[in-house]
């Protein structure tokens, strides 16, 4: 079935002068109508000219490094946003490029050292000074007149 003049004109505006690019369901009827009508051929020529004018519209290509610039701008932004102790720690560790096993060994030894340190610190009686003893020692200090040489 071929297309009527008004219908063809409408589709021409909608889909452009290249009838071969029209949607499949109307393409063949459009082409048939075009083949059989001088009026429609004139209409298509006119549309082609008009589209030619539209295509003269000014356009400037983007800078070559547009994508690179965007990617670079994103990097420090995210780092700043995520800056916390965990991220900092993982960044420092990644600098040394340790394997997972080595990383686990370092972590375990650090925790072990900390536990031992705390245990020794809390269980050492010599470090304990009572309030009374402190007061006495202070009085001794204030009353101290120096050694007689």
């Amino acid at each position: 079935m071929t297309m009527k003049f008004e219908h063809f004109k409408e589709k021409l505006l909608m889909y452009g002068a290249d009838v071969q690019c029209w949607p499949k369901d109307i393409r063949s009827s459009g082409l048939k109508a075009l083949d059989s009508s001088y009026e429609l051929q004139k209409l298509v020529k006119d549309e082609e000219r008009f589209e030619g004018v539209l295509k003269t519209r000014k356009y400037e290509e983007p800078s070559r490094d547009l994508a690179g610039r965007i990617v670079a701008a994103a990097l420090p932004k995210k780092k700043k946003a995520q800056r916390n102790l965990g991220v900092l720690f993982s960044e420092v560790l990644s600098e040394f490029s340790l394997s997972r096993r080595a990383l686990a060994a370092v972590s375990v030894s650090l925790i072990f050292t900390l536990v031992i340190g705390f245990t020794i610190g809390y269980s050492n009686p010599s470090g304990y000074v009572s309030g009374e003893q402190y007061t006495t020692n202070l009085e001794d200090f204030l009353n101290y007149e120096g050694d007689v040489l």
């Binding site: 505006l13 909608m14 003269t56 000014k58 983007p62 547009l66 994508a67 990617v71 995210k78």
Partner: protein, 189 residues
């Protein structure tokens, strides 16, 4: 760049970006920056402004990747077109439209048969005619004619039904055609 990322579709790349992958972000920017620059340029008519807008849109995505919601089932490009277009429209409102000449005088009183106008003048006039169209008609003609998007995708971006989009394209082209014709006729006199 990890070559595996180049084979991933946009939606998978966004999922990676949501996990913090900068490489996925780089792949997405590399794939689409020129496409979004084109539509931005068409709307703001300035290379610097268009580049700034594309950068701003991508950085927004990088800062808040969860803005794209896969649950809404919108294609990434459809959604991102909307983001870029909104930024362009905001900028245009700020700048109160591009400074285009109100009326263009002919450079030559007796132009030759082939050269009617100076190319730049012609481009400026055409640009003005397009910018004078109602906003949605401008979007329709830019997306369908200049960007070659399907009516379906353009309709989704603008947020109208396909029939309405087709009507916008037709009205825009009819207005442009009559303006261009009027202008050319004036030139031939």
């Amino acid at each position: 760049m990890d070559t595996k990322l180049l084979h991933l579709d946009d939606e998978s790349l966004i999922c990676r970006i949501q996990e913090g992958s900068h490489e996925a972000f780089a792949a997405l920017v590399d794939r689409h920056s020129n496409r979004f620059y084109r539509i931005a340029y068409r709307l703001v008519s300035s290379r610097d402004d268009a580049e700034d807008i594309v950068q701003e849109a991508f950085l927004k995505l990088w800062d808040r990747p969860n803005l794209w919601d896969p649950g809404k089932r919108a294609k990434f490009t459809t959604w991102f077109y909307r983001v870029v277009i909104n930024l362009c429209l905001d900028l245009r409102k700020k700048k109160k439209l591009i400074n285009l000449p109100e009326d263009i005088a002919f450079a030559d009183e007796n132009p030759g048969p082939d050269v009617l106008f100076d190319v730049h003048q012609k481009q400026a006039v055409l640009e003005r005619f397009i910018h004078e169209l109602p906003e949605r008609q401008q979007l329709a003609v830019n997306l369908c004619f200049y960007e070659g998007l399907s009516n379906n995708e353009a309709a989704q971006i603008i947020g109208v039904k396909v029939k309405a989009l087709q009507s916008l394209v037709m009205r825009a082209k009819t207005t442009l055609r009559s303006n261009v014709k009027r202008y050319l006729d004036r030139g031939l006199r």
